[in-house]
Amino acid sequence: MGKNVLKRIDLIFKHEDDCHEVLQKTLKRSDDELINELIGSGLKGRGGAGFPTGLKWKLTREAQGDVKYVICNADEGEPGTFKDREILATVPYKVLTGMAVCGKIIGATNGYIYLRGEYRYLVKDLEAEINKFHKICDEVGLNFRIKIFLGYGAYICGEESALFESMEGKRGEPRNKPPFPTEFGYMGKPTVINNVETLAHTWTIFKYGAKKFRDLGVQDSRGSKLFSISGDTPIPGIYELELGMTVEEFVEDFGDGDTKAVQVGGASGFCVPRKKFRDIAIGYQGKLTGISLPTGGSMMLFNSSRSMYNVLHNYLEFFAEESCGQCTPCRVGTQQLLQGIKAVKRGEKPAAYLDKLLSLSETMKATAKCGLGQSVANSFQSIVENFREEMIY
């Protein structure tokens, strides 16, 4: 506890007041150079899915389209995640700069920030920042404008195609894929959609070069990452850490000495029990220690006073409510998982029913229409498999 074994990084929240210069200098470089810089940095999407950012920009740049868009996904709805709010509150210009550079590269003149309704209090200050930034764009001769689009209470809108639907004035229901946003995004146009943190990292990469970013992290999980740390920890908050740490290292720093499990990646992420702390690293993939977990940066700690049944119950209630409801596996599956664990706990179904539910969750993973529906299985399986007794007794 509080051992400080992990190096604290201070890149994202470091205040820098050279927005004008950074933008001007960056825009002088060729599009290819910038894309190569980005690809070379190894930056992957910080929302949780981990798609290589440089490749995303490259594909959208190459896509056919008279109009293209840049969208910043600030619909930070994953339980246990709150880093994007802090970025927008303290260093919004880094995000805006990232959007503008992206716009220049792909050929977009309009950008949007899809801000979740829960963060509406940010709008006033953010709009002022945007106005300031527009002036900078004008000064450096870049035709680019950013608007805020306000969400209104729907977790699923964090899914990129659901977000487009929502921005188009519809129900936020994920689309069939393909086509992908790089070809068919907002209003059916090629669109880059990046998480707030991802865009903030591009500032570092463009200002200091890919190496500064790439030197952090391990293997294919490069750079630093913001972690939203909550639950049973004496020091909850937002921390910038290198990718590649093991859960054990993390718990040593942030646990309360009695940590029995860490939920990595929020309700849609994985629950790591104490006995696996040493085996699991936080990153995208790779052979580090057998398994590594991609994450949007939510780390929730549970100590031994917590019932993992209650935790899972809370997650499943969340999913049953926040599923968009269109596809069968997610809409009905989430309800069955929730009712199922309740029935087992109450003794209305045999313990073996948990296996039927595990098999159902496997089907949900394989068949749900969108990534969020597919990921419901993550927490379900990792909690039921690791804390089976708590589900039954």
């Binding site: 393909p178 599923s323 409801g325 269109q326 596996p329 009905v332 039927k356 089907t363 993973k365 068949t367």
Partner: protein
């Protein structure tokens, strides 16, 4: 880049054009992939996930209906993973569904039931979610009943109402476990913009949307010795009914249907086609009258284009969406209601029965006709003009209940009077039919010559294209129609309400100069009506359409004004078309309605 894509499905090679879906490619190989939310009439949703298949190399299954093929793709449609997943989908849908099949109106013709049977879902391990829900059952409409407990949320109805019909009475509301198919603020169907067209009913895979049936009421009337039960049959019933009774789409069963109706116990078996012919005389005369008023007298009270009024779904749509344009609609009642008004006046007198004791039943390919018969205006005979409206499906149910072996029935003929029709009356059952029938008659009235088309077949208004146009130059007019000399009569034909909206928006904005517009609410016209057999698909509609035109060609009389019974009716009762008594019995008015 090549436009052909090569892939394998279950190990078989197939080459298909780029853009083909996995579902379509499998169909080419004769491999059936089950579907629920997919329907050929509608855009792709990909939400039921019943059609998931395995794409070799991917851990995720893909929805066959929504996934385009790509080069080298290897698809498995029946792997263990696919089977288990598909079974889970069906089980999940059943767990959310009131699966009390024996008490369901769609028992025996339900796509979910078929799948459950095919996959032998005999155990119900999952928790029954339906019992703990406060589902809405809306039974207020005279046409359509909505039972949310039977809904599987495939959204076919929503897409139908929205895309096909542009009505938007149904929408998806709420999300997650509360997601449901809802009207505006969950109001009863009878209070919203719903046109009762019933397209949602024939697109619903389960019993969530069904017609209100009047089968027991009709049996009761038949059993009452004091009642004389008159039945009329709409043009499109005779080319659809066979499908419900084991025959193939496109079989004409007019004679057997008449025989069956007699065996069911109806006292007079008559034909709506008769009043279809009558409609042509009334509406044709009305059109000529309007042309004169507008073109010659410049009387602003009269409006062109005139639109047809035989499709009650269209009429109600018009009242909701274009309340400021009601003057454009022909004042003619639909053939069903003309028939009803005559059944309890002229016909009652003819057969010497007190109209009080006549029960007037109609067999319609339509659910909107049920609403129409209940409109308060439809009592010009002094009684409710049409007492009960049954769909093609309900008639088939009665025939089965009566134990009639339909295929073995002899061919019989309608009773007289009000049983004879021309081919023009028959083609009312297809899109373009009313227009064609009207032109066959109007042209001849004005010029004294037949319409200048081979075999009277006015091909420009035929076919399944959404909006069709025709222009006919009127030349060589009789002296009394001189004002029409040289006029090019411009006509438009639209089917489905979405197409009707396109045409009417053009009219409204002054961008179209049509004189006469035919609109049928349903795709293909009445042959694709909301009361027709389920399933109704584009291929089936095509076959029914062919059958209608065959029926037309098979009749000795092909023009409405040559129908001798219609001529007799005018001579004995009505006087002249568009005359005083016609106005009282055969014409009606419309009301402005709300737009939600």
């Amino acid at each position: 880049m090549s436009n052909t894509v090569n892939l394998t499905i279950n190990g078989f090679d197939v080459s298909v054009p780029k853009g083909t879906t996995v579902l379509e490619a499998a169909e080419l190989l004769g491999i059936k992939i089950p579907v629920l939310c997919f329907h050929k009439d509608l855009c792709i949703a990909g939400n039921c996930r019943v059609c998931v298949v395995e794409q070799v190399g991917s851990k995720k299954l893909v929805a066959a209906c929504a996934t385009p093929v790509h080069e080298g793709m290897e698809i498995l449609t029946n792997s263990l993973l696919v089977r288990n997943s598909r079974k889970h989908m069906i089980e999940l849908l059943l767990s959310e569904h009131n699966a009390d099949c024996t008490k369901c109106y769609r028992n025996g013709n339900c796509e979910l039931q078929d799948l459950a049977s095919e996959y032998k879902i005999t155990n119900q391990d999952f928790i029954d979610l339906a019992v703990s829900r406060a589902y809405t059952i809306d039974a207020f409409s005279p046409s359509i009943l909505k039972d949310d407990s039977r809904c599987i949320r495939c959204q076919r109805c929503v897409r139908t109402c929205d895309e096909l019909q542009s009505v938007g009475a149904l929408a998806v509301a709420h999300k997650g476990d509360h997601m449901k198919i809802s009207t505006f603020f969950n109001k009863p169907i009878s209070e919203v913009v719903c046109t009762n067209c019933g397209q949602c009913v024939i697109h619903c895979p389960t019993g969530a949307l069904i017609e209100r049936n009047y089968i027991e009421e009709v049996w009761t009337a038949i059993a009452d010795p004091t009642k004389h039960v008159v039945v009329q049959t709409a043009p499109a019933v005779r080319i659809g009914l066979g499908e419900e009774l084991g025959l193939s789409p496109g079989e004409r069963v007019t004679g057997k249907m008449i025989a069956a109706l007699r065996r069911l116990g109806f006292n007079s078996v008559l034909d709506t086609d008769f009043t279809a012919d009558l409609t042509i005389l009334e509406e044709g005369t009305e059109l000529l009258h309007r042309l004169e008023k507008v073109l010659v007298e410049k009387d602003e009270k009269y409006k062109l284009p005139m639109t047809t009024s035989c499709s009650p779904g269209w009429v109600k749509f018009f009242e909701h969406i274009y309340p400021d344009m009601l003057d454009h609609m022909s004042t003619c009642k639909s053939p069903q209601q003309m028939f009803g008004a005559l059944a309890k006046t002229y016909y009652a007198k003819k057969i010497g029965v007190d109209p009080e004791n006549i029960v007037s039943v109609s067999i319609m390919p339509c659910t909107a006709k049920k609403f129409e018969a209940n409109r308060p205006e439809m009592r010009d005979s002094g009684y409710k003009d049409v007492d009960y409206v049954l769909t093609t499906r309900e008639l088939a149910i009665m025939i089965k209940q009566a134990g009639i072996e339909f295929a073995d029935l002899p061919e019989e003929k309608y009773d007289s009077i009000m049983g004879k029709s021309s081919g023009a009356g028959v083609i009312f059952g297809t899109t373009g039919g009313v227009m064609e029938a009207a032109l066959r008659t109007a042209y001849e009235i004005v010029t004294g010559r037949e319409v200048p088309f081979e075999n009277l077949n006015i091909t420009p208004v035929r076919g399944l294209e959404g909006v069709k146009e025709a222009k006919i130059k009127i030349e060589g007019c009789k002296p009394e129609w001189k004002f029409l000399e040289g006029v090019e009569l411009k006509c438009a034909v639209a089917h489905t309400l979405a197409n009707a909206r396109k045409v009417m928006d053009l009219v409204k904005s002054g961008k179209a100069d049509y004189h006469f517009i035919e609109v049928m609410a349903c795709p293909g016209g009445c042959l694709g009506g909301g009361g027709q057999p389920i399933p109704t698909t584009p291929e089936i509609r095509q076959k029914r359409m062919q059958a209608i035109y065959e029926e037309d060609m098979s009749l000795p009389i092909r023009k409405s004004h040559e129908n001798p019974e219609v001529q007799q009716l005018y001579k004995e009762f009505l006087g002249e078309p568009y005359g005083h008594l016609s106005h009282k019995l055969l014409h009606t008015e419309y009301v402005e309605r709300q737009r939600y």
